[in-house]
Each structure stands twice: as structure tokens, then as C-alpha cells.
């Protein structure tokens, strides 16, 4: 394909390049706009009179004396105690990723090394489970969780997210382990290792690239989840995303939309750095699924 880039910059070239520029504006523009606007007051961010107010901060200067203000962030993090939700998110995400990777590597390894039919049936079941909208499962959890008094806890949510995450983790790691030559663990077995020792001493040291890629997607699932966390967590245990949703209803009335805007920007920051540092892994993870079909 790279040979296509050579030669004159014809109509096709201009079209393709302008398409990319146009796309970049659409893709990144809203984030830049919201980040900039989050340091203004509501009168600027939602400026009826002139959209340029949001850039220069006319109302912000009148109200606070400076063109930039951190009032939205102060209101969200301190006044509305958004830090609690951030902390909950951190707990949920860390435990979900660690537990689902532990279960997933063991299971994925077994599935990759077993040629029996039942291994394949488990994979097919996982494929069906993976396609199911999460909210359909939530309607199955609620009643039993209320009855057994498990509802509202962080630990319950972590276990549920781990389970929902398993089908994807199993598929991903299964296809990753298939690419690790079987001779590697077989030679360890010949040398007198048990199955688990072979896994621990031979496979674990070489599996990290695949585990990191899978872990990124587990992170995204747990971090971005709204269906499960909004339904299964009590209000004091809420994570960031459901909190932002419930924020909206209350702050609109008080004229504190900027709290929600600041909270939203704060919640994007970790994702921004995630993409920044792990871009290669994310791209390879996305395409791995495509190649497998």
C-alpha cells in the first residue's frame, strides 16, 4: 500500500487528506472545547450572546476577576465530594482487572492447550455471553441480590464485573496462548515439572504482552460501565460514571452544571493517559478480534 502514497498529489490525495483533517476536528474538537470550557463559568460555557465568550471568558472575568476559574472543579471535588466516587472507581477498576486477569489467564491457557470438544463448547458459550447486553443480566441480579442482602456493595459489583468480563478475557487470552508454541510447556513437562509448575515457570514469564493488552480492555470495561454500576451500587458506594449521571438531575436545578462539566473532564483524564501510553496495545487488541473474526 505504501507505494500508493508515491507519485503526484492528485484529486484522490487531496480528498483523503481533507477527510483526515475533517475527522480530526470532529474527533478531538469536542474534548478540547469541553476542557477549555470547564475553566469558565456557566454563563460563558453556555453563552447565548456570543460563542466567543467561552474562549475569552468574558463572564468569567466579570464574575471571578480572572479569565480562568477552578470553581467547577472545587465544587465537584470538594463540595459534592466527587473524590469519594473517584476512589470507588479506583477500587472497582483495580480489583476487577486483577481478578479477571488471574481467572482469565488460567482459563485461557487451559482452553488453548485442550483440543477436546468441551473446550470448544465453552468458547462458543463465551461468545454468546459476550454479545449479550449487560443490562439484560442486571435484571437477573437485582431480585436475588436484594433478597440475600448483597445489593449496593462494591465487592458484589466487582465480582459481577469480573464475570461479565470473563468471556472477552477468555477469548483474547486463549488466542494469545495459541501463539505461544506448545513445545515450550511440553519440554518443561518432560523435564519433570507438574502442569502448574510448567505454567508458572515457563508460560507466565512470556505471557505479559498478551496480559497487558487484555488488561487494558478489562480496565475500559470496568471504568466505562454504566449499566451495572448504576443499578448495583448504593448511592454512597457510587463510582464516577453513575455519579455523573445522578449529578445531572440535581445540579441543573441549582445552576451548577459546571460541576458536572468539571467532573466529566476529570473522568476523561485517566482515559487520555491510557490511550497515550498504550496506544499500540489498544490498536493490536482491536485488530486481534477482527483477524479472528
Amino acid at each position: 500500500m505504501s507505494t500508493m502514497a508515491k507519485g503526484k498529489y492528485g484529486l484522490f490525495g487531496w480528498f483523503a487528506t481533507s477527510m483526515v483533517v475533517f475527522w480530526l476536528l470532529i474527533a478531538i474538537g469536542p474534548f478540547v472545547w469541553t476542557l477549555w470550557g470547564s475553566f469558565k463559568v456557566q454563563g460563558d460555557f453556555f453563552s447565548k450572546a456570543d460563542w466567543r465568550n467561552a474562549i475569552y471568558g468574558v463572564m468569567t472575568t466579570i464574575e471571578t476577576g480572572e479569565p480562568f476559574t477552578g470553581n467547577g472543579y472545587w465544587g465537584a471535588w470538594v463540595q459534592e465530594e466527587f473524590w469519594r466516587n473517584a476512589l470507588n472507581t479506583a477500587i472497582v477498576v483495580v480489583f476487577t482487572v486483577i481478578i479477571s486477569l488471574t481467572l482469565g489467564t488460567l482459563g485461557g491457557y487451559a482452553l488453548a492447550r485442550s483440543g477436546y470438544r468441551y473446550a470448544f463448547i465453552i468458547l462458543i458459550a463465551a461468545l454468546i455471553f459476550r454479545a449479550m447486553p449487560h443490562i439484560t443480566l442486571v435484571s437477573g441480579y437485582l431480585l436475588p441480590f436484594f433478597e440475600w442482602n448483597l445489593w449496593g456493595r462494591l465487592s458484589t459489583t466487582i465480582i459481577v464485573l469480573v464475570a461479565i468480563n470473563q468471556p472477552f478475557t477468555l477469548w483474547m487470552l486463549h488466542s494469545f496462548f495459541l501463539n505461544i508454541p506448545q513445545e515450550l510447556d511440553e519440554s518443561a513437562l518432560v523435564d519433570g515439572c507438574t502442569r502448574f509448575q510448567a505454567f508458572w515457570h515457563v508460560i507466565v514469564p512470556v505471557m505479559w504482552p498478551g496480559v497487558i493488552t487484555t488488561g487494558l480492555f478489562s480496565f475500559l470495561l470496568a471504568y466505562n460501565d454504566f449499566a451495572v454500576t448504576s443499578m448495583l451500587l448504593s448511592s454512597e458506594n457510587q463510582t464516577m460514571v453513575p455519579r455523573i449521571a445522578s449529578f445531572l438531575g440535581t445540579v441543573r436545578e441549582q445552576g451548577n452544571v459546571m460541576f458536572a462539566v468539571s467532573a466529566v473532564v476529570s473522568a476523561i483524564v485517566p482515559l487520555f493517559f491510557l490511550v497515550l501510553f498504550f496506544q499500540r496495545q489498544i490498536v493490536s487488541g482491536l485488530t486481534a478480534g477482527a483477524v479472528k473474526g
Binding site: M19, S47, L103, L106, S114, F146, V241, V283
Partner: protein, 342 residues
């Protein structure tokens, strides 16, 4: 791997999936056959300063006891599936009998909640999928021609709309198209209509959700196509060029056919995604104008009066739809497996 080792290795993952995916599906199926208890009424003598009268009142005590004894509610069979809020066979039949033209029939059926959600889901998928495919392919072609040093940052920026939490992404766009937001206000000026509000009109709300869908899903198509482009064989392209194919023809007759499996893959993912659309409806507060199956379930479960039976019935219908959509994939995977093992 021997059975015994396989069992111990897979056990934790399998247990998690059975307990929290398979059993809940079973529990949903059971729940869908039950419906909430009716509130028990009792006659109470209500005495005011002048006269006494008997009124019907909810007997909270008895209702609570009933709830305690049978938390599932009372058995309703398939009644929930066929009622007005779900498949509504009776209502559809009536509308069919009453209406004469197709438009009237469709308009009548559109008033039924489940069909309304299906209409939206269907239109969402039909509109968004082709746009995502076309836009994704062109961006991939464009990025492929960029000088190497700009490729990394471009891919970085392109990934953001997909990686960002769906609810948060839709909120960001929602604030921009707000009547006082930058896009909303600009549109008002452009159309010289001070009352123009994207939220107030159904078609505009739909378009807004479609735009969000394209924004959110294009990066995925782009990344997949971009990876696919790296694998297009040089020889075929060169042969086409020597035969005098223009760049458009090279794309049309060499690149696109080569990408067909990827197109099918992305389309399938989009179909699944269409059934799942839910967060943008919450984020855009669009539920009055557009709903989806997932949103209906969410709405039944949210708040104080939890309609477990109704939510469960919608869930079962959704799961059935997912399984039907998945059948071709499953058959293909099954065939691949047998080809490999023989």
C-alpha cells in the same frame, strides 16, 4: 491437556460465568413468568368532623406480607410477553384490522413501546453502520498516506471518541448542541430560528443520536481497516496500476474486495452494538423521543417501583434477538473448528 488439569485451570473462570451469567439468564427467564402482586385493598371507615364514610385503602401490611412470602410475585405465565408493553399481539391485531394503508399501520404500531424501541434500534443500525464503514475506510486510506511521523498522533486522536465512556462522550456532545451551547446556538443563527432546539423535535433527536453513533463507532472501523490496509498485497496493487487503474479504481477493485471480510466483521459488531444502545439515550436525555430495548429494561428497573417481570420479559426478547443475530457467526466458528480438528 488431561481432563483433570483442564478442570482445575478452567474452574474459577467457569464458575464466575456460570454463577453470574448463566444463572442470571435462567433467573431472568423465570422472573419473566411472574408479575408484581396486586396491592391488597381494604375498606376503612374515614371519619371527618361532620360525617363518616368508608373508603378503599391500600392494606400496606398485607401487601408487605405477601411480598415477603413470594418475592417473585404471582405467576402470570406468558402474559407479560403478550401485554401492551411487550409483543402486544392483541393490539397489533387490532391495528391491523382497523387500518387500511401501510403508513397508518406502521404509525399505529409505533405507539407501542417495544416496537417503538425496535424501530429506533433498526434505524440506528441501518443509518449508522454504512456511515461508519465509509468514513472509517476513507480515514484509513487518508492516514495511510500521511508521513510516518504524523501517523501516531493521528491514531491517538482518532481513538479518543471510542475509548471515552459512552455516557460521558454523549454528555460532551449534548452540552455542545444545547440551545445555549456552541453548536446549538450556531444552528439557531444559521436557521434564523431562536426557538430551534435539538431536544424538542423527534427527528432532530434521532439525528443527534445517529451523529453520536458515527462519532463513537468510526474509530473502531478505522483501526480495523487501517490494519487491513497493511496486509493488502503489493503485487496485486502494482498489477492493477500497470494495467492503468486510477487510484479510485485501485481502491474500488483491489482494496475494497480485499476488505470484505472486515466489512462483514464490523457490520456484525455494529448490529450487536445497535441492540446495546443505551448510554447515549440517558446522556442526551432523549428517552421521550427515542428508546431502545436496553433503555426499556433500565427504565423498568430504575426508581422505586421495580417492574422485575416486565424487565425480565424484555430481557428475554433481547437475548433471543442477540442469539438469532449470532447464528451465522456461530455456524462459521463451528465449521472452522471441525475443519481444523479433522
Amino acid at each position: 491437556m488431561p481432563h483433570r488439569y483442564f478442570f482445575w485451570f478452567i474452574l474459577p473462570a467457569l464458575a464466575a460465568m456460570v454463577l453470574f451469567i448463566a444463572l442470571p439468564i435462567f433467573s431472568v427467564a423465570v422472573q419473566s413468568l411472574f408479575v408484581e402482586h396486586e396491592q391488597v385493598m381494604k375498606e376503612v371507615e374515614n371519619c371527618g368532623p361532620f360525617k363518616c364514610e368508608t373508603v378503599l385503602q391500600v392494606d400496606n401490611e398485607t401487601t408487605a406480607r405477601l411480598q415477603e412470602e413470594a418475592p417473585l410475585g404471582r405467576f402470570n405465565g406468558l402474559g407479560t410477553y403478550t401485554n401492551r408493553a411487550h409483543l402486544a399481539f392483541e393490539e397489533v391485531g387490532q391495528i391491523w384490522a382497523k387500518t387500511e394503508t401501510w403508513e397508518d399501520f406502521v404509525a399505529g404500531v409505533y405507539n407501542l413501546p417495544l416496537y417503538k424501541a425496535l424501530f429506533f434500534t433498526l434505524s440506528y443500525t441501518i443509518v449508522v453502520t454504512p456511515l461508519v464503514l465509509i468514513l472509517g475506510l476513507f480515514i484509513a486510506l487518508g492516514v495511510n498516506r500521511l508521513p510516518p511521523i504524523t501517523k501516531g498522533p493521528t491514531i491517538f486522536a482518532s481513538l479518543l471518541p471510542m475509548i471515552v465512556t459512552p455516557l460521558i462522550g454523549s454528555l460532551i456532545l449534548f452540552w455542545m448542541v444545547d440551545a445555549d451551547g456552541i453548536l446549538g446556538a450556531t444552528l439557531q443563527v444559521l436557521f434564523q430560528d431562536g426557538d430551534l432546539s435539538l431536544k424538542a423535535s423527534a427527528p432532530l433527536t434521532w439525528i443527534m443520536l445517529f451523529v453520536y453513533g458515527v462519532w463513537h463507532n468510526t474509530p473502531f472501523a478505522f483501526v480495523v481497516f487501517y490494519a487491513g490496509l497493511q496486509a493488502v498485497p503489493h503485487e496485486t496493487l502494482e498489477a492493477a496500476r500497470i494495467d492503468g487503474a486510477s487510484r479510485w479504481q485501485q481502491v474500488r477493485y483491489v482494496v475494497v474486495p480485499f476488505m470484505m471480510p472486515l466489512v462483514i466483521f464490523i457490520t456484525l459488531m455494529q448490529l450487536m452494538d445497535g441492540l446495546r444502545v443505551f448510554e447515549p439515550i440517558v446522556g442526551f436525555s432523549a428517552s421521550a423521543k427515542a428508546t431502545s430495548l436496553s433503555w426499556i429494561i433500565f427504565n423498568d428497573l430504575f426508581g422505586d417501583s421495580k417492574l422485575y417481570g416486565s424487565a425480565a420479559a424484555t430481557s428475554v426478547i433481547t437475548i433471543t434477538a442477540v442469539c438469532i443475530l449470532l447464528t451465522p457467526v456461530l455456524i462459521r466458528t463451528w465449521r472452522d473448528f471441525h475443519r481444523k480438528s479433522t
